[in-house]
Amino acid sequence: MDFNGLSIDQAPPISGPLRFFITAPLFGIMAGVMLLFSDLASLMSRYSMDAIVIVHLITIGLFGFIMLGALTQMLSVLAGANIPKVKLISSLCHLFLLVGLVFMVFGLQESNSIALEFASLFLGSGFLCLILPMLYAISRVQHFTASVKGMRVSLLFALMIVLMGVYLLYGYSQNNITELHAIVANIHSVWAVFGFAGVLIIGVAFQVLPMFYVAPRFKQFCKKRVVLLISTGLFIWMFLSLYAEEYALYAKLWIVTFFWAFATTVWIKFNKRKRPISDVTVWYWRAASIFLTLGSFLWIFDEFFKHQYIVMVGILIGGGFILSIMLGMLYKIVPFLVWFHLNAEGYMTIPTMNEMINKNLSRAQFVLFIAALIGFVFAFYMPMVLFPSAVAFIVSMMLLEYNVLAPVWIYIQTKKRKPDFDMSSFSMTN
């Protein structure tokens, strides 16, 4: 068994995950600005260029970056899995994804085939250069918990959706949009939401909720079977949508049942948690449960209305469920990383986690974010709501960036000033 994950010398340096967390809200701001200048009719179609660009600024730029940053950190803690050359790999991945995403936005907006070729190259290699080493690291884990299994399955879905994404982007670059393109795009999006993000969140929740909130543990059935049942459902759904579309609804019902059950379970577990605290992270988990429930039912409902609600489903599940969990997690992980690294380096007079981010600003960020999501849903019926909702979203992302930078600023300042009483000369790390 490899013990390197237990050593701070080997643990990912703080710059690894922070690099992703600092960049992520910037893409949120960019997506918000593009929403301001988009025409509502084109946003209503999932295959319009505007919709594809905005969706990917959020899925890759915002929650993809947060998830990858968190995984570089969590794999060693939750799984004891060490990504080889983590510093180099996470920097490369970050750079490639950044460049790739910019090329993608430019390429799709301007229909520039060279930019799109570069985009598929950089995004593909950016994702693969982190996903493959993570899968390798997990393959060396000897004791699989439910969370580690969830992470592995999620990363396998990630691998497949990246390959599909590269195929789709390359298709746009060659202006070769076949019937297969729409089929792959559909599988790509459903697997990304439920297979990659959904399974990852469920897997991590098995361990995080009982431990961090002292909530009741998940039942053995959930921990042992749910990820497998969801994955099976996703494969069955794929085969049915390819070969017997009229039955695909049954597979959707199968998948939705488990996600709705998860949403309900999370809500109940928070009701039964022993810790009395109720901070913005708890609010985000609560919001995620509600949005996931609504989104799941709407996904089924949408089947009977020629998919006219699919974009709304995306807002509810992508924004309301996945993004809510990601943002809630950021409020814990960033201040903790700063505190942990400073403390381990011997700095004793440092603020506690709660003192690093202004509570009122984190609450304001939450309220604006949720208001923006609700506004986006209502914009389907009241187009004039789109503009203020986009503004609320942009401001919430600016606040998020500020809230992420505040602890980072404390880290930089503490290292620079070296407070009077510290033990950094006895530090374990440099």
């Binding site: 068994m1 237990l6 004891g80 009395p276 403390n343």
Partner: protein
């Protein structure tokens, strides 16, 4: 059959419960939480000493890993001891914000520490020390905290 991993993992959960009770009490009135805070600190200290004085030395002798994972765990114990003392200071000063700032930091530090132990160290200890598990568990049971 005695199991080191199970024994110490249950110990973690017991401490978590006392921690939650302590926070609950502090949430109502901070000064009332002193007794539970002292109980929590005592429970944690007993758990740390079970590891530092019994399991870690046995593990180190058996595997020869002296400056490895056990040393890292000792370092995190010292970070936690420091935070726990500050909790008492916050109660003395009747500073609720400070208390919950410290308790939140302690909770995250504690749980990521527990994950590492439960996922790796205890599993490894149980594998290497399975023949001596009965004796080690008995020693942990009868430990007198220093």
């Amino acid at each position: 059959m005695s199991n080191i991993k199970e024994y110490l993992t249950n110990d973690h959960r017991r401490c978590d419960d006392v921690f939650a009770k302590m926070e609950d009490k502090a949430n109502n009135k901070l000064s009332d939480a002193k007794e539970l805070t002292l109980e929590f600190i005592a429970d944690m200290e007993r758990h740390f000493q079970r590891e530092e004085r019994i399991v870690f030395p046995e593990f180190e002798t058996k595997t020869g890993m002296i400056n490895g994972p056990t040393e890292m765990m000792r370092q995190e114990h010292s970070q936690m001891r420091n935070l726990m003392q500050q909790l008492l200071g916050a109660i003395e000063n009747d500073d609720k914000d400070k208390f919950f700032g410290l308790s939140e930091t302690l909770m995250i530090l504690l749980q990521q520490h527990n994950m590492k132990e439960e996922q790796m160290l205890y599993t490894m200890a149980q594998q290497h020390l399975s023949a001596e598990a009965q004796r080690i568990v008995e020693m942990m049971d009868s430990l007198v905290v220093e």
